[in-house]
Symmetry: D2
Subunit: 391 residues, 4 copies
């Protein structure tokens, strides 16, 4: 049994270069199809979103990058936005395209039967690539919401072929330092078929495109019961894990705070990550959040999220791999399981607080945030205008 | 083997008094959290919704009632709405309350920790009861969207106790001819816990209230794999099946056209219904639709839906119950199954067309609708104003 | 943040009277339909099973009772078995009936269409009641495996009615101090319908029988995504939670070691238990294990299991209920969640080891078991004969 | 609307070369982990299994091949078995290996940490290849049951690497006319991880092996809600769909009669097949059954199964593809869906009976089987010996 006070600082050295990218949209309003509740202090523009994100980084030291979403985060002057971020100690991360809010996309975007609509959806990505150039981003993230609601509605095969063609056009427009990150999703917003429903489909398209096309694993985008850490392992083995979209789910794509629904699953995912050294910056895996904060405080929700990921990684780093290997070779099923559980049951919060303190960060970022009065401050300041949301 | 031409008209006599209630909101716009697409011709007010619903009834003879939703269908003069419906050959059905769109309900309505919010949610139902009196409706339908997103967020037990108290206040306000229909849902719009997640919970509350409290079974509100016809049977056995909300699902509460995702399941449900004579008007079971038409034509979608339910019932009426009983008593597993499948595989469309023709209805309501020019007509007429949706 | 060394002994006082009942069959061989692997040292008879169970209790102090299964644990002299248990420091717990291994039960037992088969299944329970009298057991546990594989195979309603009649006959045969514990299961061994598939059905039958009929919640017997702690709460609220069958699942009724698949879920269940004082002996809730050890060491697997339950309960006892209530009343979603998570993240293993030591038990029962040589000893001694399994 | 009598014979020409392969083990006993029920007349050896299979072909004209399973179908003289089959009008189809019943495989076979066990599992396939040579089979089917029950039990990545190596050894041993068919499965017999859990993993291994490695899609081996026809389409598009294992499921790998649980899903699968001409013999797709008949008559169950597949294919052939394309191009969601449903709702049983009659087969194979007395005959003849099962 390892107890917290015994966690030697060097055991957590693997945390040193580890960072998490936060999504600009997590600071805006979100909700369900039934209702989007609002909160005082919600940002009205990308500058305010980045300010909130920077606050998360200032308190945790974990979140130096902010993903943007086009068109939600469209601004006239990206150079100004970039400087604004730099002034606040963060920078622009991946650029996310939007294929689900144009009336033309009702029946599909990159897969649409009409070449005009497909061209429009491709062109949108060329715009996004321009934003990448303007912001210094290297990751173009594409979640394809396309799908159908009724059997027979469209040709499943025809849609794949059209998708392959559209993706090729986008991939060819990338600069050499750019990556295309392709995200799959089991269902929603369509309910009979999705055009990229699983990692196998995403992988086939990436294989066809080239080495700079990689798969995004959103932890909420799988069928019930799916062993997600297995997919993490498999994509790493295939050299195609580009990024995570972290969040939690109990049922569907619930987009709850990562680590809130099944902390053991998050730990198991990080164990696979650590076992293939994918937590190290050189792996190129981008650890992003993609969540909603429908009813809870958004900035605090983001702080909680990055701390949860850090905690899971810290526990994964504590796994006694020598003991694990020994038990596995001996066929000691319970012994090997117990080695893993020993790390999971260890309370790393004290060690992480020590680590933060040593870096000039607050020991308890959640408490520091509450004590800071930031929530009240933005509620007082951000009056008037239109709160940002999914539009 | 039964073939269509052999379906004797008397075999379908069980259809005679059978009706389906359509929801006013199916004629308005709906969508997902990602996007609500719009369609030309969408109604702007309850009068236009009822006009569309009446068209469904005129073409099918199956849908003489329209459910209203408060506040979406609030009007100044319910008497006028009632007459409008009567003029068009339909009438007002159940009244649906709304507990999910008020900012006060962010953390709950009938279950909220704050007595003020609970009182407001109860008072909303007293308003609905007034609408019932004004429209002649006898069914108050209550779907409780309340729930929590995070473990620990609230006391699961405390919420039940508060819910029981709120429901009692509503139940006591009903007139003697009124029923309270309580609907359960597995998840959404909350993702950790729902306060009425299953039929067992709905039933316990109905038992506590009294005989005029009954359960609503929405076919999309169950866990994956749930045997829904079993629940139909069980609620009928307990004397507590008040109504259906019909729709289809592949994944979650997809709210697709009933019968489009699993026509065999719909047939099995209707077999249980017929086996306990619950398709007959005297059973008191209200067969309602509750669907979305996010991407397809709404009026046509409703016509298809009521035809699908009729078709499933017609097939259920064809089951050779004598042969079934004989096979069951003999322990002939495949034989009994085959009796059921014989009815399912029978093509009843011709017999149903004959039946419609004999009643002065179009043989093919879908074709008649397309030929009627109604869609073009409402698209041309309904210009300006705000299209109705979930608000 | 609470750290392990700060866990004051009195915080864990709620563990004092808490016990777990272990199943005799966990010490025998089990497997899947594909293969039952064997292990040296597996018991050959109920006496050896009880010896193994007693070893679990000796090392943990948590498991003073052993459930028996009839006919697997049938012996000529129950008085001798009772004394054998007493000599080893344990006693006989609940008696489990078997309705799934007789050729007559192919199409059902208590629900069978043939009255002769139903009478046989009822009579088996009268035998079990005799075993209860002979062993001093007060819990008759009935898991109904009955169901059908094909739609139409039998009347769902007819089976309920026959079941109700059979259960009544069993219930009437109980002595006044006896309870009937009725267990539900989502699916398996039948795959179209189960006759008691959910807690609602079990509850309806218990309500019809009387107050000494209560529901058994097996943690592996639900649909994917089911919120089990909600059902725990609801059954406690209804006064009908008789017992648990603890185990873990990822997919179906996997029957893995409790706490191994989702330790946070087990914690949440224990939080509901503690919040209604159901962990106290006076609650009457029987906390049982029902697991398989297909590939791991069985005795060690049982030790791990009871420790996992103890750990989850210990964490649940640490929840700061005053802080929780305060956050809930304030509508502080994240604050309330964090109070819960603080308890979950606390490493209680040291405090539990201290507690064991103070009671004369080994600090680390797993290590003590490995060091004891018991596994080698029984492997050497138990040679010849037929290893016990599910027959 | 198409009605049965209008189905022109030429519409069903696509059935002409279509065949289904039946599994020898479907004629033996099977069951769940709880019980294997027996039936009089169950075959005692491979010769009797083939006799039963031949009866299915004689009555339906659809099932000219029988899959064998090694070691269950091991015989001394494969030439004699081959002649026996030929005498009865059928031939030997694919050879299935067995990696789940040797005590050595408790923790894995092709993935085992111990090279000795892996070599044994590879060697078993060399034996199977010898059986292929002796029987003229060209398909080696490999279902990998390997997996783990507990997180940490073994290295997920290490198991993949060992699997890749083992598969390569097997693939290299194939003759040029042989194929390796690799089957994936979501879960069971292991419950934490499976080593080939999904089509993506199977495909990656096939890609690494070479063109004669193809994927087997078992319709019962997916997560709840999975869109199986999408995977069919995708594997065909990738040129890697080698075979089907047809069966039905409501919950897990229920192995019920194909088409009994969701006939609309089976139809949708056949629609994808037809749309890519994969029903034609030249496609190389082997349409196999893999089912259990735990409680129903086995030979009748197999007849029902092949008829269900034929019926689904017949309906798929009736889809009006011109109308479908037109509706799809027009973006007519409901119109396209209705074209598909028109084919599904058509009762093709009469047309199929006509077709059988024209080929000298009984119009109603189920009735012919019942009338034949075959079940009574084999029950009378097959007395003594050991009934075949999964061992």
């Amino acid at each position: 049994m390892t107890s917290p006070q015994e966690t030697p600082p060097e055991a957590l050295a693997g945390l040193d270069g580890f960072t998490i990218e936060v999504p600009s949209w997590a600071y805006g309003n979100s909700g369900t199809r039934f209702k989007v509740f609002t909160t005082p202090g919600t940002p009205r523009d990308p500058f305010e979103k980045i300010a909130d994100a920077a606050r998360v980084h200032a308190l945790t030291g974990l979140a130096p990058r902010v993903s943007l979403h086009v068109p939600w985060d469209r601004v006239d002057d990206y150079e100004r936005l970039r400087e604004h971020a730099a002034d606040l100690g963060v920078r622009i991360g991946g650029i996310n395209s939007n294929l689900f809010q144009d009336d033309d996309y009702k029946l599909g975007s990159l897969t649409h039967a009409d070449a005009r609509v497909r061209a429009k959806a491709v062109a949108h990505h060329l715009d996004c690539i321009d934003v990448m150039r303007a912001t210094g981003s290297t990751d173009l993230k594409l979640w394809l919401p396309d799908g159908t609601n009724y059997a027979g509605q469209d040709s499943l095969r025809g849609r794949q072929d059209r998708l392959a063609d559209s993706l090729r056009r986008i991939y060819e427009a990338l600069d050499p330092e750019h990556r295309l990150l392709v995200e799959y999703k089991f269902f929603e917003p369509y309910f009979y078929s999705m055009d990229i429903p699983d990692w196998g489909t995403a992988l086939l398209h990436c294989q066809a495109l080239g080495e700079r096309a990689q798969v995004v694993l959103d932890t909420g985008h799988h069928a019930p019961g799916t062993n997600i850490e297995f997919i993490v392992m498999q994509l790493l083995r295939a050299g195609r894990l580009g990024a995570f979209d972290f969040n939690s789910r109990y049922y569907a794509d619930d987009d709850l705070i990562v680590g809130s629904a099944d902390p053991f699953q998050l730990f198991r995912i990080m164990v696979e990550i650590v076992s293939q050294d994918a937590h190290l910056p050189r792996s190129g895996v981008n650890f992003m959040l993609d969540q909603c904060h429908n009813i809870e405080d958004k900035v605090a929700g983001q702080i909680r999220s990055v701390l949860n990921v850090e905690q899971a990684l810290a526990k994964a780093l504590l796994v006694d791999t020598a003991a694990l290997d020994e038990a596995r070779l001996a066929g000691d099923v319970l012994g090997a399981h117990d080695v893993l559980m020993d790390a999971f049951h260890t309370d790393v919060r004290g060690a992480l607080a020590d680590r933060r303190e040593a870096r000039g960060l607050p020991r308890d970022p959640m408490a520091a945030y509450r004590a800071s009065g930031y929530a009240a401050k933005i509620a007082a300041e951000r009056v008037g205008g239109t709160q940002a949301g999914w539009s």
